[in-house]
């Protein structure tokens, strides 16, 4: 049946989010959307740094002291983070969140090496011990956070819930990271604009997507400009300084968690990003610091 498309905007994970889906009537659409939004909020609560009772806060509070037992979901997220660390050559490191203490993107100030050095000492995923279903952060002050793929993971979970309940057309958009349930009700793909990294309401490219996920990492989400140089929130865990080679990297992947990880790692890899993106086998659209687009498309699977 060709149903009407219902839209459900909401706020979560410090971003503007939206669920769009087609359903026979508004009541069904509302019920489906509420189930998906509830799952997104659950993940936000469970993995939030800011809630003292979340598993992440408990793990961080125990740093340098004792092991914390993890549930199955957290354990698998940690395993995925570990795989990404290996695949990125050590650049994707979920302990690098401590660098946030030196960088405040609301003020255009570059921290000096004496501020970064003690924090860099706490960035060391290789030292984190995971065994018997429990995790131990060896040094006091170490932190983990799932900001690198948490939103994308939530998008995949929300989409799976909607698909299991019969939704066939629509998408879940969490702050620009999108996972598609299926094409538009008449079968045509969704036409999604990739944000122009330098124009707030501009589009750099328009992609037709029917399924899978479209995720973007960019230097414009949290950033400041100082003396003509852009400082963005994607920090190299080895130096503590922002990466600058790419303005944005968008990836098409079967899962948002995969696409989000790959686009973030590409930003971190800077000059080696294209080789990494080619190796990942995914379609991508990347804009470098000069504003030039680099792209590779795999036709037939996700985009038309």
């Amino acid at each position: 049946m060709v149903d009407a498309v219902h839209r459900f905007p909401f706020e979560s994970m410090a971003s503007r989010c939206e669920i769009r889906l087609a359903a026979p009537n508004a009541g069904t659409a509302e019920a489906l959307a509420q189930a998906a939004i509830a799952e997104v909020r659950r993940i936000e609560r469970t993995y939030s740094r800011y809630r003292a009772d979340s598993i992440v806060s408990r793990i961080n509070a125990a740093a340098g002291c004792y092991r914390v037992e993890c549930d199955a979901e957290t354990w698998q997220l940690l395993a995925y983070a570990d795989h990404l660390y290996g695949a990125s050559g050590g650049l994707f490191d979920i302990t690098s969140g401590v660098l946030r203490r030196a960088w405040d993107f609301r003020k255009p100030r570059v921290p000096g090496p004496d501020e970064l050095a003690p924090l860099l000492a706490l960035v060391d995923w290789a030292a984190v011990r995971r065994e018997d279903g429990a995790i131990f952060l060896p040094h006091a002050g170490m932190e983990i956070d799932f900001g690198g793929f948490g939103k994308e993971y939530a998008a995949d979970r929300a989409c799976a819930i909607l698909q299991q309940r019969g939704a066939r057309h629509g998408y879940v958009n969490l702050g620009g990271d999108m996972r598609f349930i299926g094409p538009q009700p008449d079968g045509r793909p969704w036409s999604i604009g990739i944000q122009d990294p330098r124009k707030a309401d501009g589009i750099a490219a328009s992609i037709a997507v029917s399924q899978g996920a479209l995720t973007t990492s960019g230097d414009y989400e949290r950033c400041f400009d100082l003396d003509g140089k852009r400082y963005c929130h994607v920090l190299d865990p080895r130096t503590g300084m922002p990466v600058s080679h790419w303005r944005s990297v968008s990836v098409l992947a079967p899962l948002a968690a995969l696409g989000g990880s790959v686009s973030t790692i590409a930003m971190l890899k800077e000059a080696d990003a294209l080789a990494f993106l080619e190796a990942s086998g995914l379609a991508y659209f990347a804009i470098d610091s000069a504003g030039n687009a680099h792209h590779h498309s795999i036709s037939g699977d996700y985009a038309s």
């Binding site: 060709v2 570990d82 066939r168």
Partner: protein, 382 residues
Amino acid sequence: MTISKQTPQELAASLLAAALLLPGVRAQADEPPQNGSISLRYLDYADRQPGLDRIHAHSPSVSVTAPVAGDWSVEGTLTADDVSGASPRYHTAISGASHMQDERKAGDVAVTRYFRRGTLTAGAAYSTEHDYVSRALSLNGTLSSEDNNTTWAFGLAGSRDSINPVNHVVVDEHKRTVSVLAGVTRVLTPNDIAQLTLTRTNGSGYYNDPYKLFDNRPRSRRENTVLLRWNHYVDATGGTTRLGYRYYSDSFRIRAHTLSGEYVQPLGNGWTIVPELRLYSQSAAWFYYDPVYDATLGAPFPPGFSNGADPNRLSSPDQRLSGFGAVTVGLKVAREIGKLWTVDVKVEGYEQRGSWRLFHDGSPGLAPLRARVLQVGLTRRW
């Protein structure tokens, strides 16, 4: 974990495998959404020449397209033509015109298999009327490049017709044809797509019109067509121009040019308007004879008949094989109602005149033919 060195293939596979291990990110595997449609259409056609109303046809038809099992689709059409009226027995002579009334039923079915980079379609068609039965089979395929910007098409078809005219001029005649097609479609720019198609048909058998006098045509016909089409999207208006040119030539030595153009303009609120213009010009068949008759016997005898010309010589006084030009002017108005329904109405006027032939003189002495066409269509998608 230590940093591992992986080959590119291993990296891609391992990333995807790792992501798939995340809990609850995939729903049960399911088929992609599919859609089909059912269309009803009605045609009312009437043509005439000065002083004589000729053929009138009413034709309802129905067509259904349905996706099947993910990689297949089936399409079927049924048509019933109710045709009646008068046809000149030679040239555009009004007196002695034959009156007829006939019902033609036709149906066809096609099954398409979709592959990653192409399609394959097998089709069968059947039509029957009092004096003519036609059966046809076809196989068509398409193949697209990796970037989907170029699509090659090829086709093979054959038909066998049985002819049994009601006036018993001949009994149990046959006509067979074999056709091949090769074509390419190319995306040129984000606003332009073009297509070139070549076809060739070889036929043998009965080509005469049994209801016309002195109609004796060759027993074989070889036909070639070259069709060039171009669709262009106009950013300024949101409309689309659809242009086409076809060159036709055959062993009857008929050469024809067809230039057609349509402009599709969406108007908002689901309305679309489509004006169209078609120009056509053809040369006469070499065995066609003008309405200049035998000096002794007069109409409808071809010149030289009374002098003992070979009675088996090829000839035809059929207006359709004369040299002429024709113009079609039409307008279609369509409305999308909700997401499921589309309704449209189309009106066309057609006129054919010997003097309108392009580049050369057309055949003289024939009355102009005018036709009006009215169509109404309804489509429902699911």
